[in-house]
Symmetry: C2
Subunit: 214 residues, 2 copies
DNA sequence: CGACCTGTTGATTCTGCTCAATCAACGTGG
DNA sequence: CCACGTTGATTGAGCAGAATCAACAGGTCG
């Protein structure tokens, strides 16, 4: 939203930005800016380099043959993505709200597989955690967990910022955007959250939110 | 079922069995047999060694605080499991039907991280694939995909063997075991499969099954 | 201002969960 | 050998929750 409108520029290369620490054995590379909804890599592209988010949010998606989209993850500053088992990407990555992304190149003479393994394992753990979320049936619980995770990720701030829109949340949680709206309304009616703006959600009762996730 | 009743023995160590190839940089270790439903490692156990399935089926599970169980994967011969980002397992592994498991120890003087990374990435890809499954709404489609994957895994044989029982399938697909029954009945009524026995499903119309998965 | 996009809300439908009964297979003990 | 209990699977009835379809509100941009 706000970010989207302030960064109206075409994709640009920003030198010198250094938000997050470089992983061991990796060479610094320039940051590339992707405006909202821009593709970073496509399904079928040859995989190879890893990417690190410097700022903004990136979504990793898959589409099934019937056109349905599943978002397998939202990534923010410091997160690494681009892992592939085969030689080709079978997911694709897009900027959500205008994101800065840095390509990670292995430093010459180094073997950073240990570092990469660490990052891949974190990615795996996160994906498995999301499996639990999708497996549980209640839409309200899904949304509560989503907000709680987001809040944690943003440093337990009282006001959570939603970088993505309802549609994205829906495809992430495996429900429709109407249901996203309704679950937010439910949480509001329960006095657990307050919608300051459309993308800023104030957590009024963190305890209750946590209890919902169980 | 059958396997369970033939292998009534306590957990034993079988020497010399060598069903699948040893990954590069790994030392052979004896095969341990786990009877049906026996724990291989628990949630909270210190992680470290990797395991490879030699025969039988292993399930990886998580339980949420409200007691719900999510099975994040079924593993068969040749599959490797035990990956953890942190020092502790936050999933647990159990034998489904009586399984032989081999601990993988890094060969001395070698750095098998490249091999391990490869395996972890395959595990990640599979988990993401399952995310797509759980995200799609129809129970019938979930079951169709499950059967199709299983058939593929078992070498496209006409008769698919279900090593796990309905309860396990339900917790894997995020539904109840009653619904598992009903979806199987649906596929039967459509003339797509035939239930030879309770654990042997004959695929009558592979084309239709594939179309359902899309 | 009007077109458009995103989000919210309402009405209706339908899928899958819950509760419950029944059945088949198996093991046990009289 | 048969009555009984247990466990896993199937099936049915009723209901709750989420999807679908549709209308509408608010904001942004041309």
């Amino acid at each position: 939203m706000h970010i989207q409108s302030t960064f109206r520029a075409e994709r640009t290369t920003v030198e010198g930005t250094r938000v997050s620490a470089m992983p061991a054995g990796m060479q610094p590379a320039p940051v590339t800016f992707y405006p909202a909804d821009e593709l970073i890599y496509a399904q079928g592209d040859t995989a190879g380099p890893l990417y690190m988010v410097e700022f903004g949010t990136v979504r990793i998606c898959r589409v099934s043959a019937d056109g349905r989209r599943q978002i397998t993850g939202f990534l923010t500053a410091g997160d690494v993505f681009g892992f592939e088992a085969a030689g080709q990407h079978d997911s694709f990555a897009e900027s959500v709200d205008g994101a800065g992304v840095r390509v990670l190149r292995p430093a010459t003479g180094q073997e950073p597989t240990a570092t990469i393994l660490q990052m891949a394992l974190r990615c795996l753990a996160r994906t498995q955690q999301q499996l639990m979320l999708l497996g549980c049936r209640s839409a309200n619980v899904k949304m509560a967990s989503f907000l709680f995770d987001l809040s944690e990720q943003q440093g337990d701030r009282r006001v959570v910022h939603l970088a993505m829109q309802r549609n994205d949340i829906a495809d992430y949680l495996g429900m429709t955007f109407e249901t996203v709206s309704r679950t937010l309304r439910f949480l509001k009616d329960e006095g657990i959250v307050r919608l300051k703006t459309i993308s800023a959600i104030e957590i009024l009762d963190r305890r209750a939110l946590e209890l919902m996730c169980e």
